[in-house]
């Protein structure tokens, strides 16, 4: 697959502080999460890619160009900053039209793209209201809209769910997924929230202290485990007792029970225990690892994570 963004041996130092240390990765079509704590180097990477910061050494190319050398390439990029970036005294329609023109679109095209984009992010009805009166969720949607209004090939989203309540966060993640799956625009999604990255991204890049820790497919990080998750409709206690009587280790959680399934005989024990306890089976299947769980388990050391595909 063709690389949309490639970073090679990228290093950035600020007065003796190493913000990025010899980082290399490539991004192709899809949604890629760039994951790391505050200060891990996510924003620095994005700013170098956009040509807003000079790298101390190494290269960062986007759509085959170095943005600092050819700033016209930025007309095919979208960027959503983490912090506030909206004027308060203009309408969303006016603002988006201006943003589209700034990306090189003629005024008539800019106006129609602005209206279309606001419809896609669910703000069509509110487009003639001054943005000073918008809620945080609406402002985040305008921020996303301004990244899309000029139809970029790739957008770089810096912490797009920052400051949102759970419902707003869910809406934003839906919009991010829709941006790729329906609009066909590739995304680099920076976040320190593993759950957001896991639910939204196809691939992840993990940065820590300016170093690349891991990169690869999300599914390789959240592969199936040998643990079996079982939910019964009634008599859960009787079912657990029947399993323990057969020497099966049982853990309760998430409304069901977990049993280790490395030995295939465990499935026979589950069958027999269900019969003994007369417990109707609702659900049974292998459990997937959550990204958050892996990171928690490995603590400060990410080295035991499954090797991803570069």
């Amino acid at each position: 697959m063709e690389s949309l963004l490639s970073v090679e041996n990228l290093t950035k130092q600020y007065k003796g502080v190493v913000a990025l240390n010899n980082v290399s990765f490539e991004i192709s079509d899809g949604i890629t999460g760039i994951l790391g704590e505050n200060g891990a180097g996510k924003s620095t990477t994005i700013k170098i890619v956009l040509g807003l910061l000079e790298a101390t050494s190494g290269t960062a190319k986007i759509l085959g160009e170095t943005a600092s050398e050819n700033i016209n390439i930025r007309s095919r990029l979208g960027y959503m900053p983490e912090h506030d970036c909206l004027p308060t005294n203009v309408t969303a329609a006016e603002f988006l039209t201006h943003m589209a023109e700034l990306s090189g679109l003629p005024p008539s095209h800019a106006r129609s793209r602005a209206a279309d984009t606001l419809r896609h992010v669910g703000l069509f009805e509110e487009r003639y209201r001054s943005m000073g009166g918008y809620s945080t969720g609406m402002k985040q949607r305008v921020k996303l809209a301004q990244t899309l209004v000029h139809d970029p090939a790739i957008v770089l989203l810096d912490e797009p769910t920052a400051g949102l309540d759970p419902a707003g966060r869910e809406e934003m993640l839906d919009l991010v997924r829709k941006t790729h799956r329906e609009f066909g625009i590739s995304i680099l999604f920076s976040s320190h929230l593993m759950a957001d990255v896991e639910r939204t991204c196809d691939r992840i890049i993990v940065l820590r202290g300016g170093k690349l820790v891991q990169s690869g497919e999300v599914k390789s990080f959240t592969e199936e485990t040998e643990t079996v998750y079982i939910v019964v409709d009634t008599n859960k206690d009787g079912f657990i007792g029947a399993l323990e009587k057969r020497g099966v280790d049982v853990t309760e959680g998430d409304g069901g029970i977990y049993v280790e399934g490395s030995d295939e005989s465990v499935y026979d024990h589950v069958r027999d225990a269900l019969v003994d306890a007369e417990a109707p089976l609702r659900r049974m299947g292998p459990r997937r690892r959550a990204l958050t769980e892996l990171f928690e388990r490995e603590g400060d050391d990410f080295s035991d994570l499954p090797e991803g595909v570069r």
Binding site: K47, L52, N72, R74, C85, N89, L102, G184
Partner: protein
């Protein structure tokens, strides 16, 4: 890409049934394959937006009040001067207004400069401060636009507005005097040189006050601070330098008088019209040669312009 989806948006009330329903088809996201005009379009867009901000266009009513109030007041001064001259000439005969020394083109900027400075102090920060305070500058600089492009376009838009504000009353004054003359063509033939003169003097005042206002605004995110600082700079420098210059006297006093910021463009005005306006009449700096006064003007315009450019070249998001 999504499949076109029929969305019913309105129903007819004329009883025509389902056929009369208004419908909109959501054809999903459409990729843009029209023209992309790159950096020049981006620069033009910043320039146009600057004009709109300066005049409060596309903003609420409050944003329109001050700029239009100042434009109106300056225009009224020009119209009032024309009306006074025409009335006196009509009552006492042609040429009386000039003979009694009624203020005209060469005096206009002396009268109106204080309003121009206040207008620059209020409108200039509006162009730069909110972009940095609200973080909008971050969105400008990630588009095909550099910090230099941004500030040059903003400077250009503000100077355009300042030129309009400076020239419009003079044009009204010239038009009024011409139309009020017994033979308008003769008046124009005798006084046409005033046109390039007031254009030049107006440009000097507009560029000077506009550049300094933007420089001050470039170093704060608060509009009020920038406005108060600039008004303070001009109002304090006038009595301070005037009083001290008179006290000290001699060459040192003349040089001190050069630091009267309000008078710097007025010396250029005097040089262009080859006359002395009311505001520079008693200024010891007026005794310097014209080339010194004009060079001083350029120094006070080009250095702030350079500093402003340097500031925005180094600006990072």
């Amino acid at each position: 890409m999504t499949t076109p989806e029929k969305v019913v948006t309105a129903s007819s009330s004329n009883g025509a049934g389902d056929d009369a329903e208004g419908t909109v088809f959501d054809i999903g996201y459409q990729h843009y394959d029209g023209p992309r005009e790159g950096r020049n379009r981006a620069r033009l867009s910043v320039y146009k937006e600057g004009l709109k901000i300066s005049l409060g266009l596309g903003r609420g009513p409050r944003a329109k009040v001050l700029p239009w109030l100042f434009i109106g007041a300056l225009t009224l001064i020009g119209a009032g001067m024309a009306f006074a001259a025409i009335t006196i000439d009509r009552l006492a005969g042609d040429g009386t207004a000039e003979a009694v020394g009624l203020p005209s083109h060469s005096d206009f900027y002396g009268i109106a400069s204080i309003l121009m400075f206040i207008f620059a102090a209020i409108s200039g920060p509006e162009l730069l401060c909110p972009d940095r305070r609200d973080g909008v500058i971050n969105l400008y600089l990630v588009r095909p636009l550099t910090g230099t492009d941004y500030i040059v376009a903003r400077w250009g838009s503000f100077i355009t507005i300042m030129l309009v504000v400076a020239w419009l009353p003079q044009i009204i004054l010239m038009t009024g005097l011409t139309m009020g003359a017994e033979v308008p063509a003769d008046y124009l033939k005798d006084n046409w040189l005033n046109i390039p003169k007031f254009l030049g003097a107006g440009a000097a005042l507009a560029v000077y006050s506009g550049t300094i206002a933007l420089l001050v605004a470039g170093f704060t995110t608060r509009r009020a601070y920038a406005s108060v600082f600039m008004v303070g700079l001009f109002t304090v420098s006038t009595p301070f330098t005037f009083g001290l210059a008179q006290e000290i006297g001699g060459t040192a006093g003349k040089w001190l008088s050069m630091f009267n910021l309000s008078n710097i463009p007025m010396h250029v005005n005097d040089a262009i019209f080859d006359s002395v306006s009311g505001v520079t009449m008693d200024a010891p700096a007026g005794e310097f040669d014209t080339w010194v006064l004009v060079s001083w003007y350029f120094l006070w315009t080009l250095i702030p312009a350079g500093l402003l450019l340097f500031r925005y070249r180094r600006l990072s998001v």
